[in-house]
């Protein structure tokens, strides 16, 4: 997938004027939040359930190398073949080679953010192997050549009219219709045919269980199950943080994921694969490849503060509650991961230099943190990224800030630590700030604070600050 994180501001402008996105964002997040609340209320103690999830993910991250070894050992014992890829290039090449060796013409895919991160579809297409996304939303997004609007519902914002036009143009159906069921049916017919002859299926992994070597997928459409069970060859791509210690842990994480994601107690389909088809079994893939991809995770793992980002289970609760996502939707984030989880992950995966807007376009309101089932403190992460950026930190590719900003904070701090200078500074700055004040209100100001004044006034700087007034008040 093309990375467009640098175009955040332009995409924001565009999306804020997109009537369709706006109308949609007014409705969707509140509905999803309500579903989540209802789903979570089925836990006897919601806080305890969430805290338990945070503890499981924290433990998994603390023991990551050991758990991955254990997972590999058990997966191999189950008959799976395990590949390791340091980066997207290695991962893509491995999959491409597997496909070529088997003379595969096309593959079906289950929705997987990590393959979006890798840009796998583009690589496969370039090499003459057609990737077919089989999740309905992803199928639509793929054909529209758009990034996901939402990590759970990638095309959730696309109008039925647009889907109809698309399916007609791509000859997925013969008669136009606006009936969502009929549209879904058209996609289904098309994809059923693909499943029928598929040789290789590629999916992501929601959870990997170290103690059993099992990989788990959750979904609601059944397409992942078909992608995993129809072909002879199954390839499951897993970013290395997906591992949890035990099956019991995995089951709790699935309960949490479903409830936080769609409000369901459990998704319609949960598939667990522990190895390929055995001799006495009648279905399932003849060969199962598990590709464990790093792509920057080890680097994240080595920074104790950044490591918390690896807890994320992609439930999207943070997107649905985020007031910024609620205004701009998912396109502006410019990559596979959007909303607060994207603001946390993308800077670590892409570098602070390419993602400055992501970790700065937040009011630090903490709504994301308040719903996170794995205990990620998003605001704290954003502050960490900002501080690394200011320092021009080489490890995370900090970009450094404009010299005017640095000068401002240097001057500011010399005043903050000396009250006499602070109060003198106020007296000196006041006439400049109040230059255009009328009736105690400033409505315009040139310079670095123009953004504020576009739609807002500011009270004029008080003729007497509280500090000045105190001299009178204290006598009363």
């Amino acid at each position: 997938m093309e990375i467009q994180t640098e175009q955040f501001t332009a995409a924001v402008k565009r999306e804020l004027q997109n009537a369709r996105s706006r109308a949609f964002l007014k409705v969707m997040p509140p509905v999803l939040n309500m579903k989540r609340d209802i789903g979570l209320s089925t836990f006897p103690n919601i806080d305890a359930a969430q805290a338990y999830g945070a503890a499981i993910r924290q433990e998994a991250m603390a023991r990551l190398p050991e758990l991955l070894e254990e997972f590999e050992k058990n997966a191999l014992a189950n008959g799976a073949k395990v590949f390791w890829a340091r980066d997207a290039k290695e991962a893509n090449e491995t999959i491409l080679q597997l496909a070529k060796e088997r003379g595969v013409k096309y593959v079906t895919k289950g929705k997987s953010m990590v393959t979006e991160e890798m840009g796998l579809n583009e690589i496969l297409s370039k090499n003459g192997i057609e990737p077919w996304e089989t999740d309905l939303g992803e199928f639509i997004a793929q054909q529209l050549h758009r990034p996901p609007f939402h990590i759970v519902g990638p095309a959730i914002n696309v109008a039925v009219e647009e889907v109809c036009d698309l399916f007609m143009a791509k000859a997925n159906m013969k008669e136009p219709t606006l009936d969502p069921v009929q549209l879904g049916y058209a996609a289904r017919l098309f994809l059923r045919d693909k499943f029928h002859h598929v040789q290789m299926g590629i999916t992501g992994v929601n959870m990997a269980v170290a103690e059993t070597g099992t990989i788990i997928n959750v979904e609601n459409e059944g397409n992942i199950r078909l992608t995993k069970s129809s072909p002879k060859t199954q390839v499951s791509v897993m970013s290395l943080e997906k591992v949890v210690p035990t099956m019991k842990d995995a089951l709790h994480m699935i309960r949490l994921l479903s409830r936080n994601c769609t409000g369901q107690k459990l998704t319609a389909y949960v598939s667990m694969d522990s190895g390929p088809k055995k001799k006495d079994e009648i279905d399932g893939p003849a060969e199962l490849f598990i590709l464990i991809i790093d792509n920057g995770r080890t680097k994240i793992y080595q920074d104790l503060k950044a490591r918390d980002a690896l807890r994320c289970i992609r439930c999207a609760a943070c997107l649905n509650i985020c007031p910024v996502y609620g205004q701009i939707g998912g396109y502006a984030y410019g990559w596979a991961y959007s909303g607060p989880m994207g603001q946390v992950l993308n800077p670590l995966l892409l570098g602070l230099d390419r993602t400055q807007d992501l970790y700065r376009a937040t009011t630090l309101c903490g709504a994301c943190k308040s719903v996170c089932p794995v205990g990620i403190d998003h605001p704290s992460m954003f502050l960490y990224y900002r501080s690394k950026d200011v320092l021009g930190d080489p490890y995370w590719k900090g970009k450094k800030r404009p010299s005017s900003e640095k000068r401002f904070f240097k001057a500011w701090i010399s005043a903050v630590t000396r009250a006499w200078l602070w109060n003198l500074g106020i007296r000196m700055v006041r006439p400049l700030i109040n230059k255009d004040a009328h009736d105690g209100v400033i409505s315009k100001m040139k310079g670095p604070f123009q953004g504020w004044f576009r739609t807002r006034d500011l009270p004029a700087m008080a003729a007497k600050t509280f500090h000045d007034r105190w001299k009178e008040i204290k006598k009363i």
């Binding site: 924001v12 009011t363 308040s370 900002r386 739609t455 807002r456 700087m461 008080a462």
Partner: protein, 245 residues
């Protein structure tokens, strides 16, 4: 008379001093003697939020020097209280002595409504206002300090006042300090939603406890809906302070 130390944030000091005055009036009326250290400046929140940690550490040290020995510190700004309570200890990861001092100060910091209700055990401050009001939950006060019931109790006890619900009261108003200036498109859209919810609430007045939110929402109202007002709770509760904003 019991003394309490006042922390007046820079936004209040420079742009909204009437909030500080109302805080003093209110506390005195409740038999508390507010003490203002003239050496105080800014808590350092702008530097923390912008990523200037070294500068923030200096600001924090100054703050701790000024307030470190006080029994209790009260402030009409929850986000500044959060800065001292939660960010100061983090800032001194490698300076144990300063970290200790920061951690000792943290539990002695109070947001105004929290101080009135939880420490002074006061709900009725003797104010009256005939009309409907609604309350905006500021992020740092709600999620940072867990303070939500306290201001509502104070409002409900005001004679003649009806507290009406605000749709999406818990949604951020779009201030976020530098965010409002650096991402005006998003911020504008957020504050517009907040104000629309206020207008449709039927309230005569929007109350809040955070000066930053007041600058944002009040600034948007001043430009686009000059007839409607937002007001800090201190100005609502203090006598003769209601026309403050």
């Amino acid at each position: 008379m019991k003394n309490v130390s006042l922390f007046i944030p820079c936004t209040v000091d420079l742009f909204l001093p009437h909030i500080g005055e109302a805080t003093v009036t209110l506390l005195r009326r409740l038999g508390i003697n507010p003490v203002y250290h003239e050496e105080q400046t800014c808590c350092g929140q702008p530097a923390i939020n912008a990523g200037y940690q070294k500068e923030a550490q200096k600001a924090a040290k100054h703050f701790i020097k000024v307030f470190g020995d006080d029994e209790q510190v009260v402030s009409p700004s929850g986000s500044c209280v959060c800065t001292v309570k939660y960010h100061y200890p983090e800032l001194f990861e490698n300076e144990p002595e300063w970290r200790r001092r920061a951690e000792e100060l943290a539990p002695r910091m109070f947001e105004l409504s929290q101080y009135l209700v939880d420490v002074l055990n006061v709900e009725d401050v003797g104010a009256s206002f005939a009309g409907k009001v609604t309350y905006h939950e500021s992020c740092h006060i709600l999620r940072g300090l867990g303070v939500s019931e306290q201001p509502k109790k104070l409002i409900k006890a005001v004679q003649g006042t009806q507290l009406v619900p605000l749709n999406a009261a818990e949604s951020c108003c779009g201030f976020g300090g530098e965010f409002a200036n650096n991402f005006p498109d998003i911020s504008e859209s957020m504050v517009k939603d907040k104000v629309e919810n206020y207008l449709s609430s039927g309230a005569d007045l929007l109350l809040l406890c955070e000066p930053g939110c007041l600058l944002n929402i009040g600034g948007f109202l001043s430009r686009n809906h000059p007839g409607k007002k937002a007001m800090h709770l201190a100005n609502f509760l203090a006598p003769n302070g209601r026309e403050g904003q």
